[in-house]
């Protein structure tokens, strides 16, 4: 069985620990956590360490810490020539210390400790320095997910920009929608089925073909009425105008 150790105890580490333990097809050797309490109960106590010197032999060390700590943590590992991957979507492979074989093992999802996720549905993006190591990564990823991709550091950067648009920015649009509702004493619940349906549509239609609404129709009367409605809220006004123009410009290019 492939032996893995995880270094870190944040959201991603938590979900990885759970996924590996549930798979039963990977041996989780150790978990490094500065604060042992943060992973207590998730693995056997004896496997939790807070001292890098106690790290035992493993086929793969997964560094799952905040982006800014990856380089330093990888420097502190008290061994060389072993196989080490980080789990970040934004950092290149080369941020890892040269003393070990480098790789990236990036599960592309938004994680909250309080919300369970089905790891088998989460895409895992892999990159490594050599083909043999890539095979190990693929094997490990395949134990916990049905969606495994090879993505180099350059593509991962594009993917991350794209992810900001479809997740962070989308969530902020939800927030603006909620604000408009609450300001007018309307339950945001009314919009939830719409939000779910718009997301679900990407499984059936390209976003290009799924576009609806006043901007798509070129319905100037409705667009103007909405802008008038938003005139006391410059931030929403500007976002409405810019996104409407963006949708219009796509149509004009047809």
């Amino acid at each position: 069985m492939i032996k893995i150790s995880i270094i870190g105890s944040g959201n991603v580490a938590h979900h990885l620990i759970q996924a590996f333990e549930q798979s039963g097809e990977v041996e989780l050797v150790q978990v490094f956590a500065r604060n042992r309490q943060s992973v207590a109960g998730m693995v056997a106590d004896a496997k939790i360490i807070s001292d890098y010197q106690l790290l035992e032999q493993a086929d793969l060390y997964l560094i799952s810490v905040s982006d800014d700590a990856i380089a330093e943590v990888s420097e502190q590992l008290p061994f060389s020539g072993r196989f080490v991957a980080h789990t970040s979507g934004t950092k290149p492979l080369n941020i890892l210390s040269d003393k070990n074989r480098k790789a990236v093992f990036y599960p592309l999802q938004t994680f909250s400790k309080s919300k369970q996720v089905d790891f088998s549905q989460i895409p895992i993006c892999l990159e490594s320095q050599n083909p043999q190591d890539l095979e190990v990564l693929k094997k490990v990823a395949g134990k916990i997910s049905r969606h495994v991709y090879e993505i180099d550091s350059e593509k991962r950067k594009s993917l991350h920009v794209s992810a900001v648009f479809v997740s962070n920015f989308v969530n902020h649009l939800y927030r603006m929608g909620e604000e408009i509702c609450h300001k007018n004493d309307i339950s945001f619940d009314i919009l939830k089925p719409l939000i779910i349906e718009v997301a679900d549509k990407i499984n059936y239609l390209s976003p290009k073909d799924a576009q609806t609404g006043p901007a798509k129709r070129g319905d100037q009367k409705t667009i103007q009425a909405h802008l008038d409605y938003l005139q006391d809220d410059p931030e929403k006004y500007e976002i409405y105008k810019l996104l409407t123009q963006a949708i219009r410009s796509k149509n004009e290019k047809l």
Copy 2:
């Protein structure tokens, strides 16, 4: 059993016909369609009419036509004093002709003919001129949906602006994400589980609490790297900048 006739044969009309026929608790008296073919097979042939003069007695006439045609269609109805509702989210109740009792029966969802929806999950927003008529509307809506709301024309306008943010604009962000992926030869499929999860989160967390990403963290290095990445695409650059500022400004107000 409450008797309903539907005037129109577009997306919303189609889904309403299906929902009423499936409920079995409402009598669908007639469907008016200028082109009989458009609803053929959905209801018995004898119930399909293309001449307003053939409209029989019903407890409720639902006008489900394009926004710009509502006023004219309601004028053409060859009767008065009866109960007539339109199904639009953008038009006020008063767009309907004065000769009949007016109401709005607005299912808040994005409809495509090719994609089935579970009508019981769709919020229906109701408005009517008098309390007795409202009871009829509630009864009808309750036969096909578990989410029935009373929303007046003023609130419905706010709701529609909000819906544009959380659906039309969100879908355009999906499109921009897809464009970035395709330009870099990355499958958009990798982002789909993320998109679904971000939408699903609204059922557990307020969008305010669900916000993640570089803007939320104030991670200027990543934000600048993304802006540099987008500098050859002015439209995406501006949208990235504006939405990042919007997320930042929320944080600064904390």
